[in-house]
């Protein structure tokens, strides 16, 4: 099981992670960061298989996957 961690201020809403996810569990969030981008969100982190494709294609060092005992979508706000 995995946490999906997104550093909100780095996201540029390119949508790469959303498109590559084989489980289709990522989506454009409803919250914007200070630059006005809608930050990637996951409503179902418990379905993540940890393939990390989303992490590899994120050009902005904004999203990563880490092992977790209680799968959570974490939005880091800094």
């Amino acid at each position: 099981m995995f946490d999906i961690v997104v550093i909100g201020e780095r996201c540029k809403e390119c949508g790469m992670c959303i498109n590559v996810c084989p489980k289709k569990i990522l989506e454009r969030g409803e919250k914007t960061n200070s630059r006005g981008f809608y930050v990637t969100y996951s409503p179902k982190p418990e379905e993540c298989v940890g393939c990390r494709l989303c992490e590899y294609v994120c050009p902005d060092f904004a999203l990563f996957i880490r092992p977790s005992s209680s799968p959570t979508y974490i939005l880091v706000q800094r």
């Binding site: 961690v5 540029k12 809403e13 590899y56 994120c58 060092f61 990563f64 974490i74 939005l75």
Partner: protein, 287 residues
């Protein structure tokens, strides 16, 4: 969902000048994907004790790609356009214990810097060159590059490119340096492994990374969405084992052949130089 102000570090944050992020690259640009793979390879090699990250230094020319020198946490030089290779060469000669990495665009390395590329490869000089090939001069708005596929539109060839294209990997391979490979940002884990292989080697190592420039190249070629351009690149970047370098293709319509085409361990420039000249006060390979 958890929202937190707590500082959760991105795994590569120690290798990035995080205060400068977000970087300047457009949404979905492939340069960041390639840089991520490269930083992972450095991190893993450092943690395995194969290289010392403090010895790594970055050399870039001018271009979108070249802006990487401002985002990585290494000593870095953002050199003149096309001149990253000679600057890296000078650094390595001055201090042979350094691990210079040249990270720059196709325009920078293959076009204006082509002569430096030629001679560094010919000398089998001890640097790693990573050429990010987005097939255009992106920073300046999408002029024709020698790597722009024939027929493709650019700002300076509005009816399509009438020129023959340059296959930089084939060109460098003809000079027989120690390592020549071409991969794509659509092969991120392989890319990481290949960087890990090439980094600790001696001699000249050249890795061409096919990349996506959605904003300029994509717009001219009808792939306005980053994922569409990425998918197109993924389709044509085919990894193959070849028996002769003449077999590799650089064809935007069908196939851009990927793979490791040369991997040998001949004496490098510095090996030869230290053997023949025995420079006083300098020890090659030791810090």
């Amino acid at each position: 969902m958890v929202e937190t102000q707590e500082v959760i570090k991105y795994p590569l944050d120690d290798y990035l000048r995080t205060e400068r992020l977000p970087h300047i690259w457009c949404p979905g640009c492939g340069i960041g994907m390639a840089l991520q793979a490269l930083l992972w390879s450095i991190k893993e090699l450092h943690e395995q004790g194969v290289i010392d990250r403090k010895k790594v230094c970055f050399f870039t020319g001018i271009g979108c790609t070249a802006r990487a020198s401002g985002f990585v946490k290494f000593d870095a030089i953002h050199a003149l356009h096309g001149r990253a290779i000679p600057v890296a060469t000078g650094a390595k000669l001055g201090n042979p214990s350094l691990i210079p990495i040249v990270f720059s665009g196709d325009g920078d390395i293959a076009a204006i810097g082509g002569n430096h590329l030629l001679h560094a490869a010919r000398r089998n000089f001890d640097i790693l060159v990573v050429m990010i090939n987005n097939m255009t001069y992106a920073l300046t708005g999408g002029q024709l590059a020698p790597t722009t596929p024939t027929g493709v539109r650019s700002t300076t060839t509005p009816r399509g490119n009438p020129e023959n294209v340059m296959d930089t990997t084939k060109f460098v391979a003809s000079l027989r340096p120690n390592f020549v490979a071409r991969y794509s940002v659509t092969q991120p884990t392989i890319l990481r492994t290949v960087f890990k292989k090439a980094l600790p080697k001696r001699g000249f190592r050249f890795i061409e990374v096919m990349s996506t420039c959605t904003e300029i190249f994509g717009r001219h070629t009808g792939f306005r969405d980053p994922y569409e351009l990425y998918s197109r690149l993924k389709k044509i970047c085919k990894i193959k084992k070849i028996s002769s370098i003449d077999e590799i293709k650089y064809d935007w319509e069908n196939e851009i052949t990927c793979g490791t085409f040369i991997d040998k361990d001949d004496p490098s420039f510095l090996d030869m130089y230290f053997k023949m000249y025995k420079p006083r006060g300098m020890v090659y390979g030791e810090s």
